[in-house]
């Protein structure tokens, strides 16, 4: 009986373990193995060791059951090369680069076909592509430009949501970089090739590439996906405004926005740059070394004065918040009540964020509305923290009263002991 239990246990460890590993291996090889038996293209190309370069067995097309003939045509049931690769049977072989968008578009532009795989699928990629710079140049016969396979690969295609995909957000800049950072390749187009370098150092690049924050914009979020175009002069603000909605709205209502248009200046990028957008800080406002205001404004003019005022308002609030934070940490460490301080600080910080957004109105009064409330909250937090620290020290006085009682008890017991011992002495 004991051996029976032991047997079950052994089989659990020794039997099921390898079995599970086996089933995982099966999963890995199914796509190609399954095809070898039914698809002569795969069978021969494996035998001849002529599988396409970069083929991934979990390629989306293989996974949904499309094999070679699904794109390249021909008859996959025949092991006779002449029959299998007969143009009369639809064989198209490797398409000419100029034909690639249409080649992929055969299926991807057909809503009825694509709906089988995903009911809400988009089918306008090809159409959009021909509106892009890439598409337009391709139509003119330029085969250096990117076509579908340059960005998505030919035989290792994954959905954009799959981290293995060449167009997964964190991979997009690297995919675009392949061509756009190659000075020799881009020489004939006479456009800069330092975009990736600048982008990688920018606040967006750092967030996406370093922190892997896929919410941060990659190249396609500003330039578009299939309809890739450089943002036009009038649309730059709109592009930034897709994410920075409030900042754009405040800016558009200012006098400066009108002036910018007249002077042919480009909204956001005049202060923040474009590919190399640095992390913002309060010193960008004001008249200090890092200020962007003094690029246009001179001492004495209205804008210069506003910059000084706004900078001071932000400085007052951040200083108050920092002081409150230091005190809050002290309160927290000594184990006093810091919850209300935390709420006040959160509120003050919220006001600071508002104020920083309102900076885009370039109106000190509007900024002050926010910083004033923030300052009040920060000061309340400081006051509360100081009270908590005071209370912490006040407790010591209470000890004197508490100890008075025990000390009296000690003295009383001592007197009693002496009394007992002197009685015992006199008795003996």
């Amino acid at each position: 009986m004991k051996i029976g239990y032991l047997g079950i246990l052994m089989s659990l460890f020794l039997g099921v373990g390898p079995l599970m590993a086996q089933s995982q291996d099966d999963d890995k090889t199914t796509n190609l193995q399954r095809l070898v038996e039914v698809d002569q293209c795969v069978a021969c190309h494996i035998d001849e060791e002529a599988l396409p370069e970069g083929l991934h067995e979990n390629d989306i097309h293989l996974r949904v059951g499309l094999s070679c003939a699904g794109c390249h045509g021909g008859d996959p049931t025949s092991d006779d090369m002449d029959i299998a690769m007969d143009p009369a049977r639809g064989y198209v072989g490797i398409p000419d680069k100029r034909e690639v968008p249409r080649f992929c578009g055969k299926c991807h532009s057909d809503i009825n076909f694509m709906r089988q795989f995903r009911p809400q699928v988009e089918t306008d990629q090809e159409e959009q592509y021909y509106t892009s710079r890439h598409g337009k140049l391709l139509l003119k016969g330029d085969t250096k430009v990117a076509v579908c396979t340059d960005c998505h690969t030919s035989h290792a295609v994954f959905p954009a949501s799959d981290p293995r995909s060449s167009v997964y957000p964190t991979n997009v800049p690297i995919t675009c970089k392949k061509c756009h950072s190659d000075p020799d390749y881009m020489a004939s187009y006479k456009i800069p090739t330092d975009q990736f370098e600048k982008y990688a150092e920018s606040v967006h690049g750092q967030a996406l590439l370093k922190k892997k924050d896929v919410g941060a914009p990659a190249c396609n979020d500003c330039h578009g996906n299939h309809g890739a175009l450089p943002p036009g002069v009038t649309s730059i603000g709109q592009v930034c405004g897709n994410c920075h909605i409030n900042n754009l709205q405040y800016f558009q209502k200012t006098k400066m926005a009108e002036e910018f248009k007249k002077m042919d200046l480009h909204d956001c990028i005049e202060c923040h740059g474009y590919h190399s957008v640095p992390p913002t800080n309060d010193d960008m406002v004001g008249v200090g070394e890092q200020s962007t205001c003094i690029d246009c404004h001179d001492e004495g003019d209205e804008g210069y004065k506003a910059a000084v005022q706004i900078r001071q308002l932000l400085l007052d609030l951040t200083t108050a918040i920092d002081s409150a934070k230091v005190l809050k940490k002290r309160v927290q460490i000594i184990g006093m009540d810091d919850l209300d301080i935390e709420y006040l600080l959160k509120d003050a910080h919220q006001q600071l964020i508002h104020a920083r957004t309102v900076v885009h109105t370039f109106d000190p009064k509007q900024v002050e509305e926010k910083t004033k409330t923030g300052l009040e909250r920060a000061k309340e937090a400081i006051q509360l923290a100081l009270e908590e620290i005071k209370e912490y020290h006040r407790r010591r006085k209470g000890f004197l009263f508490a100890t008075l009682f025990t000390t009296l008890l000690i003295i009383g017991l001592f007197i009693k002991l002496r009394q007992i011992e002197s009685e015992q002495k006199s008795e003996s």
């Binding site: 940490k329 927290q332 460490i333 000594i334 184990g335 006093m336 009540d337 810091d338 919850l339 912490y392 407790r395 010591r396 209470g398 000890f399 508490a402 100890t403 025990t406 000390t407 008890l409 000690i410 017991l413 001592f414 009693k416 002991l417 007992i420 011992e421 015992q424």
Partner: protein, 360 residues
């Protein structure tokens, strides 16, 4: 009338449980008076501090909620919103440290007065087990606030346990409730701290006290050999007990002073993903072991330095527990006896390593 009721109750109990011999024992119990009498009080002080631990621990458990999202928060609530919660927690923490301090004093005074000798061998062994349990109380309780220092100190502490050859990795995994210090570790440490350890502690403590009562106070050898007429005694009740009480109250005053003037801080909440902050060190009573392990070279001959250190501590601890069974004989005429030399060496070693731990 009142006396009559007490007498009736006493008679009722006496008839059934034969209390009179116990009362007689208490009445005739004597405590020797000599230059080392002061050390007799150390065990009592340790016991008193243990009672404070039990009492404040029960109060704390009414608010404490173990868990990675509730340990720190519930303690913060206790400290900030519950009236005198801060005081109870601070007393619990200070009392724990004082209890271990007095337990050490009690143990070394017993060692130097050679009170462990026949027939008190098991009193010594049970006392040593109680000290080990007190250290386990300290280690398990340290993690419960789930603050930065506690988290990393427990991580390092359990890693040291994991370095014990053969059984170490298993013990570490069982202690942690997994391969790392997580919420599961808090639940385990909490269960160990408030159920397992108190149960074992109470049992060993009861044995220890029974042994002490059975043999009475140990007298120094030069006094034991004197004729009864030349010995000095005081009655246990009320003389010794009153002195005990006075000392307990003084210790209580000191304890409250420490708790109020130097309240135990809560620290910042533990963040398992944050890098370890500077100055991670164990509680002072583990410092000499921690420092020794730090100073040992990576390898000593064929064995890892850390493993060697742990093995030496295990052998040393075992030898210390079994002192009554191997104690070296006294050599007449020698100013310093061999066991005194060993005791001083151990004290100096613990002292120097502890100081180095804080200085280096």
């Amino acid at each position: 009338m009142k006396r009559n009721i007490f007498k009736k109750v006493y008679d009722w109990l006496d008839e059934r449980y034969d209390l009179t011999p116990l009362i007689e024992f208490g009445k005739h119990k004597k405590v020797p008076v000599h230059e080392h009498t002061i050390w007799y009080y150390m065990g009592g002080v340790t016991l008193f501090l243990f009672l404070i631990q039990a009492f404040t621990g029960i109060l704390l458990s009414m608010y404490y909620q173990p868990g990675p999202d509730s340990s720190y928060e519930s303690l913060r609530f206790l400290l900030t919103k519950v009236r005198f919660g801060w005081l109870i927690r601070s007393i619990h923490s200070w009392s724990a440290n004082l209890m271990i301090f007095f337990a050490f004093v009690h143990m070394f005074s017993t060692f130097f007065t050679r009170a462990y000798k026949k027939p008190r061998e098991l009193t010594w062994v049970s006392g040593f087990i109680l000290l080990s349990l007190a250290l386990a109380f300290g280690f398990s309780g340290y993690l419960l606030p789930w603050n930065e220092l506690a988290f990393f100190a427990t991580k390092v502490g359990t890693e040291i346990v994991g370095a014990v050859p053969i059984v170490g990795p298993i013990i570490m995994k069982v202690l942690r409730g997994g391969s790392d210090v997580t919420g599961a570790t808090i639940y385990r440490f909490y269960a160990i701290h408030i159920t397992l350890l108190p149960a074992i502690f109470m049992l060993v403590l009861a044995l220890h006290l029974v042994f002490v009562q059975k043999h009475g106070m140990s007298e120094p050898e030069h006094l034991a050999n004197l004729p009864e007429s030349k010995k000095k005694y005081i009655p246990f009740f009320p003389n010794f007990l009153l002195r005990d009480l006075i000392l307990w109250l003084i210790v209580f005053d000191i304890l409250v002073f420490l708790a109020v003037y130097y309240p135990w801080e809560l620290g910042l909440k533990a963040d398992p993903f944050a890098p370890a902050p500077a100055g991670i060190r164990p509680e002072w009573y583990f410092m000499f072991m921690f420092q020794t392990l730090k100073l040992l070279p990576g390898h000593v001959l064929f064995i890892e330095g850390e493993v060697l250190g742990i093995l030496l501590f295990m052998v040393g601890g075992l030898a210390w527990m079994l002192v009554p069974f191997w104690a070296l004989k006294e050599r007449p005429g020698r100013r310093i006896q061999p066991m005194e030399f060993i005791g001083v060496a151990v004290l100096v070693y613990i002292g120097v390593m502890t100081i180095l731990g804080y200085v280096l």
